[in-house]
């Protein structure tokens, strides 16, 4: 079996190289066709035509970070379900129950986050 997996690795590597090169090569080659007339106005950020008043990259809402945290936990749980679900088809009711308990635990986490207001505001 690892023969086949090894073959997959090489195939995907080749595919990945092609996938990386195909956007990059035209980008690099077209540089010789593109006009290049940099001016002071062009290199300013756009911001709807108004001059930039506040510098970007300053601290922002924490809400985004809350979502990312909860997302990580659920992603791990999803991945475990991915491992378990292919065998569930020919499995017994007990196995379904085991997976069900896991799902309930995870739902509990979601319920907690919801109640604590971590899922509010964008």
């Amino acid at each position: 079996m690892s023969e086949e997996l090894l073959a997959d690795v090489f195939f995907l590597l080749g595919f990945g190289v092609a996938g990386l090169m195909l956007p990059m090569v035209p980008l690099l080659l077209l540089r010789y066709i593109r006009p290049q007339h940099p001016s002071a106005v062009k290199i300013e950020p756009y911001e709807s035509g108004v001059a930039q008043t506040t510098a970007p990259r300053r601290p922002f809402h924490m809400a985004y970070y809350n979502f990312a945290l909860v997302f990580i936990v659920f992603e791990v749980e999803t991945v475990l379900l991915f491992a378990v679900s292919p065998v569930l088809r020919d499995a017994s009711w007990m196995d379904l129950l085991k997976a069900g308990i896991f799902i309930v635990l995870v739902a509990d986490g979601l319920f907690y986050a919801w109640r604590k207001g971590a899922l509010e505001w964008k």
Binding site: G14, G19, L22, R34, P45, L81, F82, W114
Partner: protein, 351 residues
């Protein structure tokens, strides 16, 4: 688990061994590592070009359909009925000046479009066109299809950050927050399909649907969740706040111009095309259908879903960002958890 198709329909065209070229022994490609690299490279080039061409067609179709919906004609000047419009647009984008804000972080600015395009195209490797016809039938194909495009989230964030621009930054944050929020319900809906399939291989997906019926009939809720969350992942209406024209100029890709911008565009449409194709494989039996060859059926079904997405774009208003996030976490995620339990019962009933 045998799918009995008449002779030539069962043929694996993608295997390329039917090419009786006298100077090339196609088996050689599978036996050693440089052969495999070359094969992968060849398929990569082919798929990328094909996706590019499909996107061009897709853009044209969208402009025409949207025009009809809005009571106008759409592109008519360039070429008969505007057929050359997309080609002309591509040429224009290619020779546009590459304007880059001075304060933009060079590495991130250049890397971000690649991180959006490449995963979307790489996901195409596991899309099954017919039962034997997958470009590469990985053992964990379905997980691969969900895992590789998740890198796009990083790309969106980098794009918003790299452009030294408040609005782009906000657009990037919103885009990636939306992206990761909808990833979980989407993955969970695919888990229900995996439960019915018994394997993570995409070829087995089609075989399982050949045995039982199309999964859309068994798991309608999963289908609905999958389609809606996929539209949200790809930033299509009604979830296109991150790139809405009236909201944040162009969101996270405001500062990108010309060819670099078109890479984002390509990535979005490629992701949508791949996801629609996989939706057909997951829920509508891929290439299964009487009489016509599987590829034709597959293309037809995918076209229907893409058409639906296009029509939806010009029919619905867009969600506000907080509505969007609330929808993901408070509505779709609990729904998909319940759907998991439900799918378990359905699975036991069928098998």
């Amino acid at each position: 688990m045998e799918v009995n198709w008449p002779g030539w329909l069962d043929f694996d065209w993608l295997d390329l061994s039917w090419l009786e070229l006298p100077w090339i022994d196609t088996n050689w490609f599978h036996d050693n590592w440089y052969g495999l690299l070359l094969l992968g490279f060849f398929w990569g080039v082919l798929v990328f070009t094909m996706v590019g061409a499909l996107t061009a067609v897709y853009v044209y179709v969208e402009r025409k359909v949207s025009a009809r919906i809005q009571g106008r004609l759409g592109p008519m000047e360039t070429g008969p009925h505007g057929l050359l419009q997309t080609l002309v647009d591509v040429v224009k984008l290619a020779v546009k000046e590459d304007v880059r804000p001075a304060a933009a972080d060079a590495l991130a600015f250049r890397l971000a479009p690649l991180l959006v395009v490449v995963p979307a195209v790489m996901a195409f490797v596991v899309v099954p066109f017919g039962v034997p016809m997958v470009i590469r039938d990985l053992n964990v194909g379905i997980l691969y299809f969900l895992a590789v495009p998740s890198i796009t989230g990083v790309g969106l964030l980098l794009a918003g950050w790299a452009s030294y621009d408040n609005y782009s930054f906000l657009g990037g944050l919103r885009a990636s927050a939306q992206f990761i929020s909808y990833e979980i319900p989407r993955t969970l809906s695919v888990v229900t399909v995996v439960m019915l399939t018994g394997s993570l291989s995409s070829a087995r997906l089609i075989e399982a649907q050949a045995d039982t019926t199309w999964f859309v009939l068994l798991l309608p809720l999963s289908f609905v969740i999958y389609v809606v969350t996929t539209l949200a992942e790809v930033n299509r209406v009604p979830f296109d706040i991150p790139e809405a024209e009236s909201e944040l100029v162009a969101g996270f890709h405001t500062e990108y111009s010309g060819f670099r911008w078109s890479l984002f565009f390509l990535g979005e449409y490629a992701a949508l095309t791949t996801a629609s194709a996989f939706a057909v494989a997951l829920f509508f039996g891929g290439g299964l259908g009487p009489v016509l060859p599987p590829v034709v059926w597959f293309v037809l079904k995918t076209a229907v879903i893409i058409f639906f997405a296009v029509v939806l774009r010009f029919t619905l208003p867009r969600f506000r960002q907080d509505q969007l996030m609330a929808l993901a976490w408070k509505y779709f995620l609990p729904l998909s958890l319940v759907n998991l339990l439900l799918a378990g019962l359905i699975m036991k009933a069928v098998f």
